[in-house]
Symmetry: C2
Subunit: 215 residues, 2 copies
């Protein structure tokens, strides 16, 4: 059975809401409540979950702890993922210092830069390696994910190198339409594109039309 990518994209949303509920001590939650919490219809949630099994109880809802465990297992969040950051400039520094990855099982274990002033620096328990050593290091010590935060001009090059080293998931902050071979997964973070599409709505709504932009 083939699961639609949109469904996979929503599952992490559900896990995050469930984590919050669990921290609040909640035992069960209905698709209704989860829906209003996330801005998604209850039927959507039920249908998405039904791709993977039957996790709820009629008349009652979903056991928060149980559903969270199931989703963690489905998404592969019940293990550690090793990541490398390429490009430790202004943005790379913020990424290295971000405390949101670790608790979700995503650990940054390598960082690379081309600037001689950066190479060798210790940041967040990590020693910045030379960009020249990227291939050698990753071949010896593989990572699951590559985070690309280098200037646009060399991003495709870096991505190609990552692919050659067997990296199969890439998170790219570079503003280019990067290409990867099939079997490699790429997600782009594109704040400028997001702003540009919102500009359209700003321009074309006389101060208060309905119909919010997809987020």
């Amino acid at each position: 059975m083939e699961i639609p990518p949109v469904v996979i994209d929503r599952l992490p949303l559900y896990t995050r809401a469930l984590s919050t509920l669990e921290e609040e001590g909640r035992d069960v939650v209905s698709s209704q409540e989860l829906g209003t919490l996330l801005g998604v219809t209850p039927a959507q949630i039920r249908k998405d979950l039904s791709y993977f099994g039957r996790f709820g109880k009629q008349g009652r809802g979903y056991n928060v702890r149980k559903l969270l465990d199931e989703l963690h297992h489905i998404l592969g969040l019940d293990r550690q993922w090793r990541m490398a950051v390429i490009g430790v400039g202004k943005l790379g520094l913020a990424i290295l210092g971000y405390e949101g990855f670790g608790p979700q099982g995503f650990r940054i274990v390598e960082a690379f830069d081309a600037d001689p002033k950066r190479i060798g620096q210790r940041i967040e328990n990590l020693t910045i390696r030379a960009a020249n050593d990227l291939e050698k290091t990753l071949l010896k010590n593989p990572v699951d994910v590559g985070i690309v935060a280098v200037p646009a001009g060399i991003a495709q090059n870096v991505i190609d190198t990552l692919v050659k080293c067997g990296v199969r998931a890439i998170l790219s902050y570079a503003p280019i339409p990067a290409r990867v071979p099939p079997g490699v997964y790429l997600k782009r973070i594109e704040p400028v594109l997001a702003l540009q599409s919102m500009a359209y709505y700003l321009k074309n709504s006389p101060r208060s039309t309905a119909a919010a932009a997809r987020s």
Copy 2:
């Protein structure tokens, strides 16, 4: 006529490719070439553009300069947009220092933080203001876009304040399912969700299955 949001989301992609082509001195481009450049089918591009008019010439293609101007006009990129950054921490600093916004007409004109050590600092020709002055400042000196880079816990609060100040477009980096009233546009940057959905594919492909994740 109502234009599908997905179409609006693709237009900025086209403008970026066209800009590159223009810098290379190209005069005309076909939907075919633009398509392979962006990983989109030519028919998709033609259909998207046809929502707004007839910009090409049969047998020839699109005039790069002309199409770029048209798209800039359609998206509202032929003017300056004023932005405020809320939260000048690790990420906020990278945003303030990012040179990718200006050339596209998005100018950061205000920055706010709650940390006394940050308030008053001059960064990139900007003086960091106190978070307490957010409402007062924006009411006197409105901005078009708010960029939210504060901790998750207070993000909804900041967003509510922005909305109250008449901000109608918000780019949020906070990992929360923020809600805004209709007529306000919100886009979220969510690296963790992107990683989590890629984890699913990493886990469920025996090292080389086709079907790349939507990016």
